[in-house]
């Protein structure tokens, strides 16, 4: 042993480290497919558009459609609802950001930025309370928008949060008007 030790030490250490490192790399690489499989699969990712025919939604009526497994509220607002939303000063809002996927991330939460582009009657929001994911109840609450039964968050007629604990306005999904009477979400 004594004869071989001095000559062999560095090479042996290198060998041990290289083997150990290789094993660690292999184990880490092996973990990846098993983690990667958790992400939404290709068929789920493809199911991303929902079309809504607006002709059957009367003024004042709010319908719920499903997009990516989540409820989306499509609301044909009355003049009164719109006027109410427009009156609100930005400074009075808990969350002054539009949260509109179709606009820049820092767009202010004016009613124009919340309602459909060129179609101010229409408000399209994801029906998930931004607090902890419950579905708020429409046409209710002090602000005439939504009231969340879980923890009491309230939203106004533009889907903006007016009373906590929800931190942000209801999200607006990416959508566009295919025609005046049809929108395509996603």
């Amino acid at each position: 042993m004594a004869a071989t030790e001095t000559a062999g030490t560095t090479r042996r250490d290198f060998l041990y480290i290289a083997t150990g490192a290789m094993g660690a790399v292999g184990a880490a690489a092996l973990v990846w497919p098993f983690v990667s499989q958790l992400q939404p699969d290709a068929s789920v990712l493809a199911l991303s558009t929902t079309e809504v025919d607006l002709t059957s939604i009367a003024e004042g009526q709010m319908v719920t459609v499903k997009w990516r497994g989540k409820p989306v509220f499509v609301w044909n607002r009355t003049e009164k609802d719109i006027a109410e939303a427009k009156e609100v000063q930005l400074s009075a809002l808990l969350d002054p950001i539009a949260r509109n996927a179709n606009l820049a991330a820092d767009a202010p939460a004016t009613d124009e930025n919340r309602a459909g582009e060129g179609h101010e009657k229409w408000l399209v929001v994801i029906g998930i309370c931004t607090h902890l994911g419950c579905v708020p109840i429409g046409h209710s609450g002090e602000y005439d928008g939504w009231f969340c039964p879980c923890h009491g968050s309230e939203y106004d007629t533009a889907g903006r949060v007016r009373r906590g604990p929800a931190p942000t306005n209801l999200d607006i999904p990416p959508y566009q008007f295919v025609s005046d009477t049809k929108i395509s979400i996603g």
Binding site: M1, T4, G8, R12, L15, Y16, A18, T19, M22, G23, V25, G26, A29, A42, S43, A46, L47, S48, T49, E51, D53, S56
Partner: protein, 283 residues
């Protein structure tokens, strides 16, 4: 070297053979009376095989224009056309294909089903609503679904071929058979009693197949100057079917090569580490 060494190698050899011989459950398509399909050259065969994109695109054209009028492919979605490792159409091209089809959706608010143009997320529409309807329209025979067909067909390779296939990595039995079948239509030999409504095929088990010869020269118009022959159509559509049955074949072989390289280097390192560790111990 010694008794220990020799008994070790004598233990090794038969066991290796045993391990291989147990693999002989070669799945068998009934091959009674049918000759073995010849083995073809496929671009996707072997450890570095990849699909020939142009060929798979042509194959899709043949499938779309000919096969799909009777055969379903219920696991195939329009979006698959645009994914890497196959025909790899652009997303716009795949969308255009999808929009060319009417897909049933619904129910709408009135509770009715309705047709709309296809989207990428839609499955390939089946030509018949169910198996019974397919049989009724095809003289009682059910045109098999194409989704996994290239992997669902094979023929018995026999000894020792099935062992050699392990080393040559031959897995193209299904496409060999399908290609042979497509070009295997012939006049029945003298004295062969062909049942009513059947056709004679050299490679079909029992020879009497209900499907009339589906492809013939000049039937599909290719835009890229590829010869418009039966043989070419058959190869193209078969390659397409292989992709449809195994859409991640390229990724599998690519990852396989990386893993192999890694494992071989790792095994080498372990071998030398093991030698070092055991150096001072006779064993």
């Amino acid at each position: 070297m010694s008794t220990t060494m020799s008994f070790r190698s004598s233990l090794l050899r038969p066991l290796a053979v045993a391990a291989l011989a147990f693999g002989l459950a070669a799945p068998a398509l009934a091959a009674e009376g049918a000759p073995k399909p010849p083995r073809e050259e496929w671009s996707f065969a072997g450890p570095f095989g990849t699909f020939d994109q142009a060929q798979v695109q042509r194959g899709f054209q043949v499938f779309k224009e000919v096969c799909a009028s009777c055969h379903a492919a219920h696991l195939f979605s329009f979006r698959n056309l645009a994914q890497p490792g196959g025909p790899s159409f652009s997303e716009a091209q795949a969308k255009a294909v999808a929009e060319g089809y009417q897909v049933q959706d619904g129910p709408n608010d009135a509770g009715d089903m309705f047709d709309r143009p296809g989207r990428l997320s839609d499955r390939w529409p089946s030509p018949f609503p169910n198996e019974q309807a397919a049989r009724a329209s095809n003289g009682g025979a059910y045109p098999p679904d194409f989704s996994t067909l290239a992997k669902a067909r094979t023929y018995e390779v026999g000894f020792p071929g099935f062992l050699i296939d392990i080393f040559t990595q031959y897995q193209e039995n299904g496409v060999d058979y399908i290609h042979a079948l497509l070009v295997g239509y012939e006049e029945p030999p003298e004295g062969f009693a062909l049942p009513e409504g059947a056709h004679y095929n050299k490679y079909f088990p029992g020879h009497a197949i209900k499907m009339p010869q589906p492809l013939s020269d000049g039937q599909v118009t290719y835009t890229d100057g590829t010869p418009e022959t039966l043989d070419q159509y058959s190869r193209d559509v078969t390659a397409f079917m292989m992709w449809m049955a195994e859409p991640h074949l390229e990724a599998r072989k690519r990852l396989g090569f990386q893993v192999m390289i890694f494992l071989i280097i790792f095994a080498g390192l372990l071998y030398f580490t093991k030698k070092k560790v055991w150096k001072s111990v006779g064993h």
